[in-house]
Amino acid sequence: MLKRWRQTLTLTDVMVYAIGVIIGIAIVYGTLRTWQKAEYTPEQWINLTIDGLKLGSIYALIALGYTLVYGILRMINFAHGEVFMAGPFTAVFLAMYLDEIGFYNAQPIISLLLITLLSATVSVTVALLLEKLAYRRLRYAPRLVPLITAIGASFFLQYTFRGFYGADVETYPNLDILKGTLTFGPITIPKADLLVIVSGFLLMLLLYGIVQHTKIGKAMRSVSEDKEVAALMGIDVDRIIQFTFGLGGASAGIAGILYAIIYQNVQAFMGFIPGLKAFTAAVLGGIGNVVGAWLGGTLLGLLESLGPNLFLSGLGVPAANQLKDGIAFAILVFILIFRPSGILGERLSKTKA
């Protein structure tokens, strides 16, 4: 055993493991110190956790789009953050109109469904157009080509939407039924946050159901295995790819409305950072895996929200919150060192990788 280790272990491996162990020790030590100091009340910890969960749910829904597309095409659709922006940035004008005529708070559920429908429709349209105009011709090009195209498409969409709707921040009106909180034992949770967390989880289950238990899901999985063979089996590969982009777009559009429910303000560049985070979440959970995307998103949200106060303030780092993204990404490195395929990722066979 020891002999085999000595043969396969290189200096790089040792260093990588050492870094991993140092990060691990720092986290544990920082956390213990924070608990000892008892600087924050339990109520504050609960609040941070809820905040992490709702942020995570949004990351998760966007990550589903990355993961579905990657699962099928092995390409990273970097313009997905803009698909997420397109929906809510369009639907805000409907919401403002409904608020103006007094319909918004008179029929809140119908209004919410209407804006969600509009947001999802716009996001799906943008996703489908992207696939048709930007990616389809590049399907058999080297992998770097569609990646660069996606980055270009991302900028194109940001500035196009800025041109359409202006560079101003637009604001969703308040929905009265989502004001206030619900109490479960010691936990008090704002209604809006609960809605976001629950719908994020349900949507993930729905997508999982579609991929695993429907005929079209089966077709998606077979296209993912091998496009040529799937085509030989009579599967319309183009249609399946379109369906996948549409599904990702719809979940991004719905994520956009959930984002708008909690943060209210939308603008043309709102998709870029959440898009990057969601991509990270997808990798963290195991790219190509629907449950993994949700798990990765939730974990990333929690790390970002709890991390600075949990480990860094214990370590005595000044202005710890500036480092929230640093923590999230350091943990990503940490996990990928020990599980390169992500938390729920499968080990990819050569043809898929």
Partner: protein
């Protein structure tokens, strides 16, 4: 024949030389950085570099409107020459400042520049303009370093009618400590030089008065989730949070502070960057009770309400959309007054404007009666007669109401 012709030609030549010597001597520019010559029918060119697009556009457009009213009050003319007033977008950023700076620096007809809207844009544009010999006067740059003697960002030729953040940050601290009676404060900045500078001045002054700063945190300008920062701040139990940042992150802070356990009753205060109807729009009901500091319009001269505001309403169809219109009005008038004072005018109407002379005249401004007060410039270019007030937002009402002093 040829001899007679020679004599005639000689007489004509000699007499023309004698006549020329008797007439006006041609103007000779002795200014050490040169002169601008404006032909008899050419306009006097004053440019602007202000943010006129994007989320901060109201800031620049408002200043430009103020300057245009100053020109209109002069009948559009200075020394019987038309005034040409055009310019570039400074983007309220270093990149925008670089672009606008390069473009304007290449135009030798420019006498003076009104701008920039934002201090970050000025820092990169000013070295170019200073070398080009322009006189630059800003209505809204408030960063401390721009007029600090010996600072690398203090360039010759730069002046401003806007208040220095030293004044605004200190006023905010005095308001919090003396008027509200608070002893514990926390600050949040967004990494911009404006916000970082203000929070430093605030923290220094607040500590000097006897208060304690419990936390100094920062957020990203487009950050949406604030719970981490706010929870950290809550652990120090401050009575007031001073966040002199811009609208996007500022509204998120307003929305989320009162939902954070431990901060339910904490008072919030911003600076002039958050004096905007967009804050009302973005924060909704949560805006109730938020304080912002800003120039005190009620202390402006009588002409402000009697003449300036009606003229603004008539020309642009609205009340002023931001807060530095009167400062821009004063800046334009100062420039025009000095142009009138230092320019040498030929009999045919040609103007010679000495560049250093214009700068010297501007720096020597003393007791200039403007809308914003009696302006006197320091040798490093601070010309404001700063009057800072604190205003309080109430849900559904704009503008906010003045509460101090």
């Amino acid at each position: 024949m040829s001899k007679r012709l020679l004599i005639i030609v000689s007489i004509i030549m000699i007499s023309s030389m004698v006549l020329a010597a008797c007439g006006a001597k041609p103007y000779e520019c002795t200014d050490k950085i040169g002169c601008v010559t404006v032909g008899p029918t050419d306009p006097v060119h004053i440019a602007y570099a202000m943010v006129i697009n994007g989320p901060d556009a109201t800031l620049g457009i408002d200043s430009r409107n103020g300057a245009e009213i100053a020109i209109a009050d002069k009948g559009g003319k200075v020394l019987d020459h038309a005034i040409k007033f055009d310019g570039e977008d400074d983007g309220c950023s270093a990149e925008g400042g670089q672009a606008a700076g390069t473009k304007l620096a290449a135009d030798p007809t420019i006498v003076a520049i009104l701008g920039t809207s934002c201090s970050s844009a000025l820092r990169v544009a000013m070295p170019l303009w200073s070398t080009a010999g322009f006189t630059v006067i800003s209505a809204s740059n408030t960063a401390v370093d721009l007029t600090e003697a010996g600072n690398e960002n203090n360039y010759p030729g730069y002046l401003r009618t806007a208040h220095n953040d030293k004044v605004q940050g200190a006023a905010a601290a005095q308001f919090a400590y003396n008027f509200l009676g608070f002893k514990k404060a926390a600050t949040i900045h967004d990494g911009s030089i404006y916000a970082d500078g203000l929070q430093k001045v605030f923290a220094d002054e607040f500590t000097k008065l006897g208060g304690t700063i419990t936390a100094r945190e920062s957020v990203d300008p487009l950050q949406v989730s604030m719970s981490g920062v706010l929870t950290t701040i809550a652990s120090g139990t401050p009575e007031i949070i001073y966040h002199p940042i811009f609208i996007a992150a500022g509204t998120q802070l307003i929305l989320q502070t009162w939902k954070t356990p431990g901060l339910e009753n904490t008072v919030e205060m911003g600076a002039d960057g958050m004096f905007s109807p967009d804050v009302m729009k973005g924060a909704g009901d949560a805006v109730e009770g938020v304080y912002v500091s800003s120039p005190d319009f009620t202390k402006f001269g009588a002409d402000y309400t009697a003449k300036f505001l009606p003229a603004y309403q008539a020309a642009y169809g609205s009340v002023p959309v931001s807060i530095f219109h009167a400062h821009a009005y004063d800046a334009m008038n100062m420039v025009l007054a000095c142009v009138e004072k230092v320019t040498v005018k030929d009999s045919d109407g040609t103007l010679h404007i000495p560049r250093q002379g214009l700068r010297d005249c501007m720096y020597a401004t003393k007791d200039f009666k403007g809308l914003t007060g009696n302006l006197t410039c320091t040798p490093t270019g601070d010309c404001a007669d700063p009057k800072i007030a604190v205003f309080e937002y109430h849900a559904g009402e704009y503008p906010p109401t003045k509460v101090w002093p």
